[in-house]
């Protein structure tokens, strides 16, 4: 008798688990996402009312005819743009993916849906999936510049730099515009050609319409290139222009925060970062704010923000584990976040996870090398740092880290070479890294 009760309980429990899952799955299937209310100054932006109107129109069209593929794709596009403006990638990427999947269920070869899906994969750091999807789209239409842009990004992230260059050249030959110039600039930066990168980014800015998000994003990137070349005056000018053209542009504010920081104007830097953080949900602002708090001895504030950042990133990553289709991989970011609170073992786990996904990427290798350095495993850091340096990138942070790692392994010649290169243009560097690098160079 007891045995039959046990069997009945087991069958009942298993059925409950399955039915619950099916119900949730159906609810997920039937969810129709809409625009979330913007807050603060983002709600005052002129495009917000238009976006709301468009979203309502598109949602009505989809409700009337769920097979209206054009409206599904337009709505996905709207969500992708909204994600970029608000920084709420968690919600809007999921929303866009839902519409794109609706399209692909009806038309599995839909070129626009495939390109947008690959774009979303890249946005969620599912780089290999993004690259595979973009390649599929490219096979359908090999004459579309946009898809080559995604291939450039995917190949860069996977560390296939030669392929990325080839894709960028193809993109440029099809359509020389803001997007292709920006990609050319990024590749030149990776290959250590800062003057060339600045020149290409200037072309990108000139090709765009002043005030549009994509143009001002390029202008901010231009400012950042100047920063890394040690030309803070031009960097500041570009950030200021971006802010004039697009009020409260968070990335321009973060740029001005870095300039304030390099001038040791900590209060001003904190204010800029706080302002940027209140506008767009981007963890990098919080991370940089943590650095300033640490520098100014406000350790409690730094620790509190760090913990929030780690919690949020882990939450987003958890959604990646439960849903293979979407969910933000943030292992590289988590590795750095854990380093900030001295949890080196956890940082190593995440750095390795990132490395395993893309072992040829220079950033993933730099992160792993840096975590090994922080762990005191200097010899282990060397092979990864060698890969990180394979494109001859002149990024001053990378060069400082390389110098410090080589110094600890006793290779004074290489250490001196990299540290001198890092300081050559007097570029803006994180304060602590700068301090340690200067000390190391003196000792050499």
């Amino acid at each position: 008798m007891l045995y039959f009760i046990l069997i009945a309980f087991f069958i009942g429990a298993v059925s409950f688990v399955i039915i619950k899952f099916k119900k949730e799955d159906t609810a997920r299937e039937n969810t129709q996402y809409g625009l979330l209310q913007r807050n603060g100054s983002l709600a005052q932006m002129p495009e917000w009312e238009i976006n709301k109107l468009n979203a309502t129109k598109l949602l009505n069209a989809i409700n009337a005819n769920p097979k209206d593929l054009k409206s599904q794709i337009s709505l996905a596009n709207l969500f992708i743009m909204e994600a970029r403006t608000t920084g709420n990638y968690t919600y809007y990427d999921k929303a866009a993916m839902k519409n794109i999947d609706n399209v692909l269920k009806i038309d599995a070869q839909n070129f626009e849906a495939l390109t947008l899906k690959s774009l979303l994969y890249l946005s969620q750091h599912h780089f290999a999936d993004g690259l595979a999807m973009a390649t599929k789209a490219q096979n359908i239409n090999p004459y579309n510049a946009f898809v080559y842009g995604i291939l450039v990004d995917g190949n860069v992230e996977m560390g296939n730099y030669d392929s990325a260059v080839a894709n960028a050249e193809k993109m440029m030959s099809i359509r020389p515009d803001l997007r292709s110039y920006a990609r050319a600039s990024y590749l030149r930066e990776i290959y250590g050609d800062y003057p060339g990168a600045i020149e290409a980014m200037k072309l990108a800015v000139d090709a765009g319409v002043a005030g549009e998000e994509s143009t001002e994003w390029c202008r901010v990137q231009l400012g950042h290139l100047y920063e890394n070349s040690g030309d803070n005056k031009n960097a500041e000018m570009n950030y200021t222009i971006a802010l004039d053209n697009r009020k409260n542009y968070a990335y321009a504010l973060a740029g001005l925060a870095r300039i304030a920081l390099s001038n040791k104007n900590y209060d001003k830097a904190i204010n800029y970062y706080k302002q940027a953080d209140s506008l767009v949900n981007d963890f990098s602002f919080k991370e940089e704010l943590v650095d300033v708090y640490q520098l100014t001895g406000q350790k409690d504030k730094a620790a509190a923000i760090s913990k929030t950042v780690i919690y949020e990133m882990n939450k987003n990553a958890a959604s990646a584990a439960s849903d293979e289709n979407i969910g933000h991989y943030a292992d590289r970011e988590l590795a750095y976040a854990y380093l900030k609170i001295n949890e080196v073992d956890k940082a190593l786990d995440h750095a390795l996870a990132e490395y395993n996904r893309r072992p040829k990427n220079i950033d993933a290798n730099e992160t792993l090398a840096w975590v090994y350095y922080q762990k005191g495993a200097y010899a282990k850091a060397i092979p990864y740092m060698k890969v990180a340096l394979k494109t001859n990138s002149k990024n001053p942070v990378l060069l400082c880290r390389a110098g410090l790692i080589y110094e600890k392994t006793g290779d004074k010649v290489k250490a001196k070479e990299y540290l001198e290169q890092a300081f050559k243009n007097n570029a803006t560097l994180p304060e602590l890294l700068k301090l340690h690098s200067e000390q190391a160079l003196k000792e050499i």
């Binding site: 007891l2 045995y3 046990l6 087991f10 429990a13 298993v14 059925s15 409950f16 688990v17 399955i18 039915i19 619950k20 899952f21 099916k22 949730e24 799955d25 290999a128 999936d129 996977m158 584990a321 439960s322 293979e324 289709n325 490395y355 395993n356 996904r357 893309r358 072992p359 040829k360």
Partner: protein, 226 residues
């Protein structure tokens, strides 16, 4: 009545079937770091991973294996159960990694916990191995295999070394299981099995504890997605 039963069975079969069919097409991830690595490095990597998935990280699988051991003090009993479990989880592990069946974690994980509850309570109700217990263990093994696959999927497999990696992982899992069985038999079951209080002091309390822990996991996995 007969028709009604048939209808219900059909409904359940369709429901369970749709669970798996709906998931077909999701690709398993690729381990790019080991793409160009020599075979021995790949084997060692996945063997270690499989072992670690049992000891120390697979506390639920450890409890399941302990549950299997507690049914009887007879070596043959554990041999048949372990064999059924191994064959079953090897099948679903390979099929899942090949994307022939991929079940969602939100279904597999609670059922794994429930299987532990079942085995633990059954230990308190049965004294010897019944043929259906081996069949049940086989069915549970099929579910555990899908759980192993999701763990393996987190790291991914290098393309072109599918079978090498899966077999090495499975071997690691087996060695982990054998280690648990050996320790349990060596330290508890063999030294104490002839005591007349063995079932009362060892089997009942241990099984009850395992059932309680696994029930807690079931609740956690069903309602809190942990």
């Amino acid at each position: 009545m007969h028709k009604l039963q048939n209808k219900s069975v059909k409904k359940i079969v369709l429901l369970i079937g749709s669970l798996f069919i709906a998931q077909i097409g999701l690709g398993h991830s690729i381990n790019y770091a080991l793409q160009d690595a020599p075979v021995n490095q790949v084997v060692w990597f996945y063997f270690k991973m499989g072992f670690k998935h049992i000891i120390p990280f697979g506390i639920d699988h450890i409890l399941f294996v302990i549950g299997l051991c507690l049914l009887s003090t007879n070596i043959k009993t554990i041999f048949w159960q372990a064999t059924a479990f191994t064959v079953a989880h090897s099948i679903t592990l390979a099929l899942s990694m090949k994307n022939i069946i991929v079940a969602p974690g939100s279904v597999v994980e609670p059922i794994i916990a429930l299987s532990i509850v079942f085995v633990a309570i059954e230990n308190m109700l049965l004294k010897e191995l019944k043929p259906w217990r081996v069949l049940l263990v086989f069915l549970f093994g099929l579910i555990h295999g899908m759980g192993f696959a999701s763990a393996l999927n987190e790291i991914g497999l290098p393309t072109g070394k599918f079978y090498t990696s899966v077999i090495a992982f499975n071997a690691g899992v087996e060695v982990g299981q054998i280690t648990v069985i050996t320790v349990l038999f060596g330290c508890i079951i063999i030294p104490l099995r002839n005591k007349n209080w063995y079932r009362l002091v060892i089997v009942y309390p241990l099984s009850a504890c395992i059932a309680l822990v696994a029930f807690y996991w079931t609740i956690e996995r069903v309602f809190f997605n942990v």
